[in-house]
Subunit: 261 residues, 2 copies
């Protein structure tokens, strides 16, 4: 990168839900650190499945950590959403130019967007009108190979930064766990109706009292070829534009027209 | 109620996020207990702001508790969403005919739908195609007066039960904290773009290390008269039909048409 004045570069806020020590967030930082001033504020412990939880019953702690040359980084005791809120208010003292979350270890396609701490952090930024992208690789392993992901992450982030700002831009990007040569490209998709079918595993503790582990099997109920699940199955990177206005306008119209309370 | 066979009555699952001991959930049970077989599965401690969090790192506990005559009730160590999942799998062994969440102590209009444990529990049921309604009263107090709420809760639940089943029906109902005589009726609304502007309160512990409390001021950026915030301000009960397909179709089209990666 040329000797551009650092202050003129875009400010890139990075967070995740697998914690600041996960390989995925390091891969994300490496992918984009030449594109701007990168600041990391991420949970100090894994926060998968935290959804859009915020911490309201107790206070947060935050610590500056040594991370990577030229990258300012903080670990935070809160949820992924807390990290975005506190980064803006107490670290950056302004809104970043873009917020990136991930790269998650494991899929966040279909209904997972609702449970995912990764996507909730990205959504929190989008609510604040910060362009925001959540990235996930379809590999749960801590030894996952992020090399292909890094190429496409950089490409997508560059694209978003080069565009005229779109209000409340929010993307959910999932990357198939295959070699870069097999990836067919980026496909703009809708969220599939696919979800986990849960079954709780019942066990007994040494005193004979029951406890329950959440388990589940992932089932795709959506036959469409325009979904993220289809795209990923066919070795595309899925990109779902996401919104936080949850109003069901079709049902709204139906109720207004046909129901009398 | 006439001597109808209990088994033929609708099964009504009730949960919340303020815990099984909150006055709001008792008011909800009282409001609908004559309409079917009521089963309560609710958190054993307050879970406000938990969003759509699920418990994946440790197991859940569940205890049968004495609650109210004719009402089966369980406290659960998990989040509101966990309560719905475990109720279906381990208590009811079937999907209930309707799921009700609340009555929340405090507003869940506008963007709060995303942070709210009350609404996330209701959404979890809707994902499973269980008709579902979250109720909130605009009064944080534990001494809140739920008498008007109970009248309207019963009216809305009866209406939903009497209709032909609508796929993935999900309502976010907020009730103004005013006397029943002042309530103008039920208004079908969209979610307002209104949110908290956060500021973290910085304090120091006895060893001099900083910690942060989340605080915020609620600001309505939405001038529309078709929003839940407007309705509530004008003494209407707001009813927002809610969806869990978060795809932003407008942005999807725009990206597909104009972007090249």
């Amino acid at each position: 990168m040329a000797k551009t004045k650092k202050a003129a570069l875009p400010v890139i806020l990075i967070t995740n839900d697998d914690s600041i020590n996960a390989p995925g967030i390091k891969a994300l930082v490496e992918a984009v650190k030449d594109l701007g001033r990168v600041v990391v504020v991420a949970p100090d412990k894994p926060q998968s499945g935290m959804g859009h939880a915020i911490t309201i019953g107790h206070p947060l702690r935050m610590h500056k950590v040594h991370y990577m040359d030229g990258v300012e980084a903080y670990s935070c005791s809160g949820t992924p959403v807390d990290c975005v809120k506190i980064a803006v208010d107490k670290i950056l003292h302004r809104k970043p130019d873009i917020c990136l979350s991930g790269i998650n270890h494991g899929a966040n396609h279909s209904i997972n967007v609702i449970y995912s701490g990764t996507m909730s952090a990205a959504m929190e930024a989008a609510i604040e009108n910060i362009p925001s992208i959540g990235f996930s690789l379809l590999d749960f392993s801590m030894e996952a190979d992020f090399s292909a992901s890094k190429v496409y992450v950089k490409k997508i982030v560059q694209k978003v930064l080069s565009q005229k700002k779109i209000k409340h831009l929010l993307f959910n990007v999932n990357i198939p766990a295959v070699d870069e040569t097999l990836i067919k490209g980026i496909k703009v998709c809708k969220q599939a109706y696919a979800k986990y079918e849960e079954a709780f595993l019942e066990r007994k503790d040494p005193t004979g009292r029951k406890y329950y582990w959440l388990t589940g099997e992932f089932v795709n109920y959506d036959a469409g070829k325009d979904t993220d699940v289809w795209a990923l199955k066919n070795n595309y990177i899925s990109l779902v534009p996401v919104q936080f206005d949850l109003t069901n306008y079709t049902l709204k119209k139906q109720i207004e027209t046909n129901w009398k309370f």
